[in-house]
Amino acid sequence: MTVAAEGAPPLRMTRARRNALLQSEPVQGLGLISPTFLYALVLLVLPILVVIAHSFWTQHYLTIDRTFTLENYRIALTEPIYRDLLWRSLYISLTVSLFTVLLAYPIAYFISFHGGRHKSLWLFLITIPFWTSYLLRVMSWKVILGYNGVLNSALMGLGVIDEPSTALLYNSSAVIITLTHAWAAFAILPIFVSLEKVDRTLVEAATDLGDGPLRSFLRVTLPLSAPGVISAVLIVMIPTVGDYVTPKLVGGKDGVMIANAIQAQFGKAANWPLGAALSVTTMLIVSLMAGATVLIIRTLQRMAR
């Protein structure tokens, strides 16, 4: 009895201390993110480190020479083929983000300001294309833009052209059209969310102070929805630089992008270090471009005042 009585209080204290530890905010926070964090660490950070390491090594047929070299980066940055591919990738992704945001903004605006009771229905309709596979959606553009495709048949039927045009498919424009369509929903959603947060009284206040609909939009609604525009641009721009399925399917010879070259180095060409150097270069340039985009939009926002 006495032993139990002596033993009980310390046990209770440890439990209390453990409870306090479990209830502290940092511990709870770490506990919540740890599964994802570990997953990201193992499957994201480690592979990236492996890729970075490879980019400083050299491939000798089947073996890898692990002496430090910058030769891969020299090739990646000076070899015209890679430079061209990189430029084209950046051009395509910038154009795609620009068109996607330009097309997504009015849709998001309409749903947010004029969606009324049917807002969730509209958002639901926007997600419908995602019920099919990405590949199917890209393939459907092949059907639309192809030699005997929907667009050519329609134009011929209308008498606009005499024979099917080959200019529609297998070039960078086809890649841009396909990607713009594929990423639309990812741009609509963040813009919609930021428009939802714009206090409608602010628009009324702008009107009250003399602004017509266009002015109040440019001076109040647009600057206040800039965070949504920034996320939309980044969400579309970053992944499209590295897209390689779309150029492979609809891009033809003129639509090849840097990701196709990287894939070739890791696959057929079997030059992992060069592939790694191309990846790292692309990553760095995309980061710079993303940073520059954020800066430009912020500056425009400030100028709108």
Binding site: T201, E204, A205, T207, D208, G210, R215, S216, L224
Partner: protein
């Protein structure tokens, strides 16, 4: 209370022009079967501080938004400064608004907020800067021009909203419950400041409020609204002392209602019999409609005064204290009067010791028969 010699008594502080600034004619606003505003007519004079007072859902905000141009009448017409407002969008009306939430642009600083409406006017040679400075000085915000909206207190945000509207020099300034988000002390201070500002700039102010003290303290005239209809339009004193009906009387503060029998009705006056107060001659209210032989009289709690010791008054009622509530500078006494259905509520200042009257004490109350007003039920 004897009139003090040398003090001229007047209901309003200042001579106003009799020129109408806002004319509202038979305005109705329906949402399906529901009428937010039902056949309202009203004239607001130039330079007047006018309040629309009523409980939530009475149509006061709807009316204000229709003057501003954010909503349109289903039928009827609104004119501002003699100009019909039909078809004129909010951005081209000579009115500016102070919103309930203040609607300060969060991406702009104080100066940019105030200058917002001026930017479009493209003023020459530092005129814009001068007007912004002047407006900020009017609301005592000089020196805070570079602050962001997020760095301001509630009271300061309210001042920015005020400056932003005043800088446009509107014919009419519309205020939608501008003080409701402030704490009591700041609210009372702003009431005084708003009134002072209105007197200084001379612009017509239309204030929407559900706070009767706010309306009484600031306005030249008040329109009391219930259920989409305007019940009474008059000066604060008239509204408080001579409410047209029971609803208005109740909304503006405590009122003792006394049932009376009409003995005689002649011209502008009524002679009535009450159980507690005896036979009384009273003014007949304008909208009085005789409904059988009964009438409703009312007297405000502070118009009943406790008679101490053996003091007497020409008119008095006797009763017994049944409840006592202490409020610092005043005490509320609930006094039962033989013959009256409901006990009377009496407000007495505490300088003679009303807060020490024990419950159960017999008491006599003095009153002025003029303070007993007849009203529609």
């Amino acid at each position: 209370m004897p009139e003090q010699p040398g003090i001229e008594r007047s209901d309003t502080d200042r001579m106003q022009s009799e020129k109408p600034m806002i004319e509202i004619r038979d305005v109705t606003r329906s949402y399906g079967a529901f009428k937010a505003l039902d056949d309202a007519s009203l004239t607001i004079k130039e330079g007047e501080f006018f309040s629309l007072l009523g409980p939530s859902g009475c149509g006061k905000t709807t009316l204000l938004r229709m003057i501003a141009g954010f909503d349109n009448p289903t039928s009827g017409s609104i004119a501002v400064g003699g100009q019909p407002m039909e078809g004129i969008p909010a951005n081209r009306r000579p009115t500016n608004m102070v919103f309930q939430s203040y609607a300060i642009f969060p991406h702009l600083n104080v100066e940019q907020n105030v200058a917002y409406g001026l930017k479009r006017l493209k003023l020459q040679g530092g005129e814009e800067k001068r007007r912004v400075e002047e407006a900020l000085a009017q609301v005592s915000l000089t020196g805070l021009g570079k602050r962001l909206a997020t760095e301001l207190s509630g009271g300061q945000r309210q001042r920015v909203a005020l400056a932003r509207a005043l800088v446009m020099r509107p014919k009419v300034l519309l205020l939608d419950e501008p003080l409701s988000a402030l704490d009591k002390k700041l609210r009372e201070q702003m009431q005084v400041e708003l009134r002072r500002l209105q007197q200084a700039v001379g612009i017509t102010f239309v204030l929407v409020t559900h706070d009767q003290y706010e309306a009484l303290a600031m306005s030249d005239r008040i329109a009391v609204m219930f259920g989409g209809r305007i019940a009474q339009v008059a000066s604060p004193k008239e509204i408080y002392q001579r409410p047209v009906n029971r609803q208005v009387a109740d909304f503006l503060g405590g009122m003792n209602f006394v049932q009376a029998e009409i003995v005689e009705e002649n011209g502008a006056s009524l002679i009535v019999d009450t159980l507690g107060f005896g036979r009384i001659k009273t003014d007949k209210p304008k909208a009085f409609v005789r409904n059988g032989g009964g009438a409703m009289l009312g007297i405000r709690p502070e118009r009943l005064r406790v008679l101490w010791d053996d003091a007497t008054a020409k008119f008095e009622v006797a009763g017994k204290v049944v409840e006592r509530h202490y409020f610092g500078e005043i005490t509320h006494l609930i006094v039962e009067i033989p013959g009256l259905e409901k006990p009377l509520s009496v407000t007495e200042t505490n300088d003679f010791g009303a807060d020490d009257i024990p419950v159960g004490t017999p008491i006599r109350l003095a009153y002025d028969p003029e303070a007993l007003v007849a009203m529609a039920d």
